[in-house]
Symmetry: C2
Subunit: 205 residues, 2 copies
C-alpha cells in the first residue's frame, strides 16, 4: 500500500494522518505538492480523476480516494481500537456526527474558501465574495449550534468515546480558522472540546 | 422504532425508503409535512435540532438523523443483502462513490436549489442566482464526469454489486432533474445506468 498525502493546511489528508496516528498504523507515503499543482498533473489524475488528495494505492494496484473511505478501509483491516463506533448504535451516531460536521461546517467553510479568500482567487477568478461572506455567517452559526450540542457535558462529539467524528470536526474547525473563522469567544463547550481533542498527540499528525 | 419521513421530491427521505425496500425492512412511519414547515416546528426540532427529515426514533427513545447514518444502523442490524459492501475493499469503494456522488453532484445541486430556484425564494429571500447558475454548470460537468467513469461498462456505480452508492446517486440525479438539470443527452453510460437503477422496484419507494 502507499498513501498519496499532502501537508498542512490541507484538511482532508490531515484527517487520514490523525486517524492512522490514533490507530498506530504506518503506511509508506508519497507527498503530492498541491502548491506545485501536482494533484492536477496527468500522472496523478490517472490515480484520481478528480485530482484530489489523499489517495491510497491498494496492494492490487487500484486507487482509493476520499479520506473517509480510506479510513474505513483501514478500520476493516485493523478494527482495534474502533474509531467508527463499537456497536450498531454507536456506529450510527459516529456517522451522524461526521456528516453533521461535514454538511454544517466543512460545506460552508469550503464555500468561503473558494469564494472569499485571496489565496484561491488565482485558480478561481470568478469568486462570489458576497456569497462567501454569507457563508462566514453560516459557519459562525454552525459553531454556535455545535457549542449548544456539546453543552450536555459529553467528552467527545459522538458520545462517550473518541471517534472519527472528532477527527472530522477537529480538521474542520482548524481549516475554518485557516480561512479566518475562529470559534466564537463564548462557545465555551466547543472550545473545551477543541482543547481536549487538540491535546491528543495525534492532532500533530 | 419509528421513521419520520417525507414524500417526494425530498431526496434524503427517499434514500432511506429505497434502502429499506431493497432490504425488505418495514418500519412504522410518520409523515412530516415539509410544505407545512412541520420539520421546523419545536416538537420536531427537539428530535433533530437541525430541523431535517428523515429522523429515526430508536427503541431507547433517542433520535438518529442523517439518512446514511439511519441506513448504516439498519445495515448493522440486518446485514443481508449487504448494501454497504461485502468486504473491506468493497466497503471502501461504496463509501468512496457515495461521497463522490454527494460532493460532486448533491453539493452543487443543493447550491442551485437554494440560490436559483423560485420555489426556495420564499424561505431564502437572499438568493445568489449567478452563483446558482455557476453551479448548474458544475452539476452538468459532474454528470459528464460520471458518464466517463461509467464508460468501463460496469453495471453499478461502485462495481459489480448494486449498493448504497447507486441509491445516493439515483436520488441525486432525480433531485437535479427536479431542479431542472437533466442528464446531458450524450451521457449514454450514465443514462443507461440510470435506467437500470430506476427499473428496480425499490426506485418507486
Amino acid at each position: 500500500m502507499k498513501l498519496y498525502d499532502e501537508n498542512m493546511p490541507a484538511p482532508n489528508p490531515r484527517k487520514v494522518r490523525i486517524y492512522l496516528a490514533e490507530k498506530g498504523i504506518t503506511v509508506p507515503t508519497e507527498r503530492v505538492r498541491m502548491m506545485k499543482r501536482e494533484h492536477k498533473a496527468p500522472e496523478f489524475m490517472a490515480k484520481n480523476s478528480l485530482g484530489q488528495v489523499p489517495v491510497l494505492e491498494l496492494d492490487d494496484g487500484t486507487y482509493l480516494s476520499e479520506s473517509i473511505a480510506i479510513c474505513r478501509y483501514f478500520e476493516a483491516l485493523h478494527p482495534e481500537p474502533p474509531l467508527f463506533g463499537r456497536d450498531a448504535r454507536e456506529q450510527a451516531f459516529v456517522e451522524m456526527w461526521m456528516r453533521r460536521a461535514e454538511f454544517r461546517l466543512w460545506g460552508p467553510a469550503g464555500q468561503v474558501w473558494i469564494n472569499d479568500d485571496p489565496r484561491t482567487a488565482m485558480v478561481n477568478p470568478n469568486q462570489f465574495p458576497d456569497y462567501g461572506a454569507r457563508n462566514r455567517k453560516i459557519v459562525a452559526g454552525a459553531m454556535t449550534w455545535l457549542d449548544g450540542e456539546l453543552a450536555d457535558g459529553r467528552a467527545w462529539l459522538a458520545g462517550e468515546n473518541y471517534s472519527m467524528a472528532d477527527i472530522v470536526l477537529l480538521c474542520g474547525i482548524d481549516f475554518a480558522k485557516f480561512v479566518n473563522m475562529d470559534m466564537p469567544e463564548d462557545a465555551k463547550h466547543l472550545r473545551a472540546w477543541h482543547e481536549r481533542v487538540s491535546a491528543r498527540p495525534s492532532a500533530r499528525a
